[in-house]
Symmetry: C2
Subunit: 416 residues, 2 copies
């Protein structure tokens, strides 16, 4: 069936065919093109472009592609690799998540010279090519992006893998770009927790890039999803990665940056997340690591509004529901002397290790009154911190009280 015949029908099939055609007509992320499609609907948009009645700006954007039609081969090619085209008219369309892009694009000026650069412009996708068994809207409902450098360190890979695993285990979808380094580690972590994960690609879902991640993409597509704005067969051209990144931000509740080099794309990621009202979470690292410099820049930049996170629990606390999903504070051991009063602490410090001394001597060392000493000694004895000997009071020898090992431990010798 030719394109014109398919469009004549006007039903869901026509809409799908039209959006398939539109997804190849102009590079995604083009504000004016999305507005044109949005205003008259996809079927009308295709008709006007092909008949030459579209506005000049739209005709210039489409250029020579107006004459071509790969929509049917694209749909067939998708089918052959187990993929499908999800369009805004489908129930599966992640409308809630992408709403942030619709809002943001409405704030862009009319004059395209004044609009955001295409690599940063917040534009909803015209359609999404999707490969895998999961439902797109369900998978992104509770999702977090985990992104970072391709040239990650073993530390970054470890942290991304742990985050991916922990998030997956707690029912959160890890969204990333399928790239080398942090992306792959995050996806693999989620897969290790038997959790579906979602890779947003900058190329066709039938030719995932990088090629060395073929097995990884295959595993992702078994339980999760590979998602792309570009039709099957499209190459991962460089500028497409940047355009793709807005989808990673929009589809998720927040973005975790695990490792980033100095002045890398991390700032753009931050700006995008903030503009879409998404949380920006950043994992710190050694200040000696070049791969954490970008993370630390984000955390130092008050405008970036980044939150430092060190665990999946803290990530979930930041992006999860208010009041639910709260992370426990880190634990510390407790010591018998925790909670002692100032005077009790001083009396305890004044007690010698070996030969017991009387309350008067303790009062002189501790710098307090004898009555105060006599008031706190029973509690100290009850806590097994001091003991009575023939010559007076002394510290309970180690092994009896669980005291040793705290940081501030100082010798109990008295003032000379």
């Amino acid at each position: 069936m030719t394109l014109d015949e398919a469009l004549a029908d006007g039903g869901p099939a026509a809409v799908r065919r039209a959006r398939a055609w539109l997804s190849r007509a102009v590079e995604p992320g083009t504000i004016d093109f999305w507005r044109f499609v949005d205003s008259g609907g996809p079927v009308d948009a295709v008709r006007r472009i092909r008949s030459g009645t579209a506005p000049e700006r739209i005709r210039a954007l489409v250029g020579a592609r107006a004459e071509q039609d790969e929509s049917l081969p694209d749909l067939r090619r998708a089918e052959r690799c187990g993929a499908r085209l999800v369009v805004p008219e489908d129930d599966e369309w992640p409308a809630l998540a992408l709403h942030a892009l619709t809002v943001a694009v409405s704030e862009e000026p009319e004059d395209h010279g004044a609009q955001s650069d295409r690599t940063l412009a917040p534009v909803p996708p015209v359609a999404l090519w999707v490969r895998g068994p999961a439902r797109l809207d369900e998978l992104v409902d509770r999702s977090v992006a985990v992104v970072g450098s391709r040239a990650s360190t073993a530390y970054g890979d470890h942290v991304a893998g742990e985050l991916g695993y922990q998030l997956g285990e707690r029912g959160w979808t890890v969204v990333s770009g399928g790239a080398y380094g942090i992306d792959a580690a995050a996806h693999r972590g989620a897969l290790a927790a038997a959790a579906p994960t979602l890779a947003v690609l900058a190329c066709g879902v039938d030719r995932p890039y990088p090629a060395a991640h073929g097995a990884l993409f295959h595993r992702i597509a078994e339980t999760g999803l590979l998602v792309s704005e570009w039709p099957p067969g499209c190459a991962p051209l460089r500028h497409r990665f940047l355009v793709r990144n807005r989808l990673i931000a929009a589809l998720t509740r927040g973005t975790v940056v695990v490792e980033a080099a100095a002045r890398s794309g991390a700032q753009a990621t931050a700006k995008r997340a903030r503009r879409l009202g998404r949380g920006l979470l950043v994992v710190p690292g050694p200040v000696t690591s070049a791969m954490s410099v970008g993370c630390h820049e984000l955390l130092r930049d008050a405008e970036a509004g980044a939150t430092l996170v060190t665990s999946a629990a803290q990530v979930i606390e930041a992006v999860g529901g208010i009041g639910t999903d709260l992370a426990d504070p880190p634990e510390r051991p407790t010591f018998p002397r925790d909670g002692l009063s100032d005077v009790a602490t001083r009396v305890l410090d004044a007690c010698p290790v070996r030969h017991g001394v009387g309350p008067e001597r303790l009062a002189a060392i501790a710098g307090c009154d004898v009555l105060e000493v006599l008031r706190v000694l029973p509690a100290l004895e009850l806590a097994d911190l001091v003991q009575w000997t023939a010559t007076g009071w002394r510290l309970t020898p180690p092994g009896r009280a669980g005291e040793a090992g705290e940081d501030d431990r100082a010798p109990g010798r008295e003032d000379g």
Copy 2:
């Protein structure tokens, strides 16, 4: 000369003798005692305590010590180890730095039951025992505290040492507590830069603790200063470390926490620095390190008001003069394609690696107009990014353009 005889004189020697006596009479950091000394002056304070005419609260604080007098032996003992007593009446007194404590103590309530705990109370010292050749006020003028865990890791030691060295080299005094771990690494870093460094001790300057740091303290005292509120011979009782910590905060323009365990003293350090209007600077570390957990807690706690720092330059920027001492942003390499327009980037990406193609083909792949392609090609050729061949335009082979190695590099193959 007895104490009473010495006081009768009323001159500078009487003041020094009185403050020597007062520094042993009551534990430092006691709000009511400092207020009593401050209101009538040191000579009058000693007289009233010894004659029993001081208020009951003061007499209770001094207790049995009212009868004793170690002031002359203390001053002699100090002299023997090359130390001296610096009093508020001296030019050398660091009045500017300690003014923050005077202000803060004035906000404490009259009722001592409602006052801050002595380990946290902001109280100026009655006097300072000082050992070393440097002038106290000059040394603390441009100073930074570098503190952290005693149980530091190799990472923490490395960072503290680097900070100490870099700060020292740039003319800043490193102030710390002379303890194991971060403190020692910071002092050693400063010494390695041949810069004077200052250790604030929780014991007498003649018996520095820990004993294993004897050589370190000796080196510090050769060019810098050992400083203590406690008279010579006093033991490093546990509670004294906490009381001492307020001086480290007050004497410096800001405090850098390098490593801290979960829920360690770092929160107290933060609270103290904030209360004194000092900057709190925190070095992040691997999220996998227990010794960075306390640092990350501080950075996550909005109330702590901590600033993440990764270098001495950033520390100086934070505590130095406004507009001066600015840290350079981290550097990144530049690439020939930096600054290319959106269309130029897309045309560049569309260029094949081997066989050149015509502008029409480039326009179709890049998704733009042929005229736009023709407009950007000259600039790309000028930048040596593309070249003209018999069959059309292609990418300049690697080795000619300085292009390889950037993160986002994607294959230049065209859409299939």
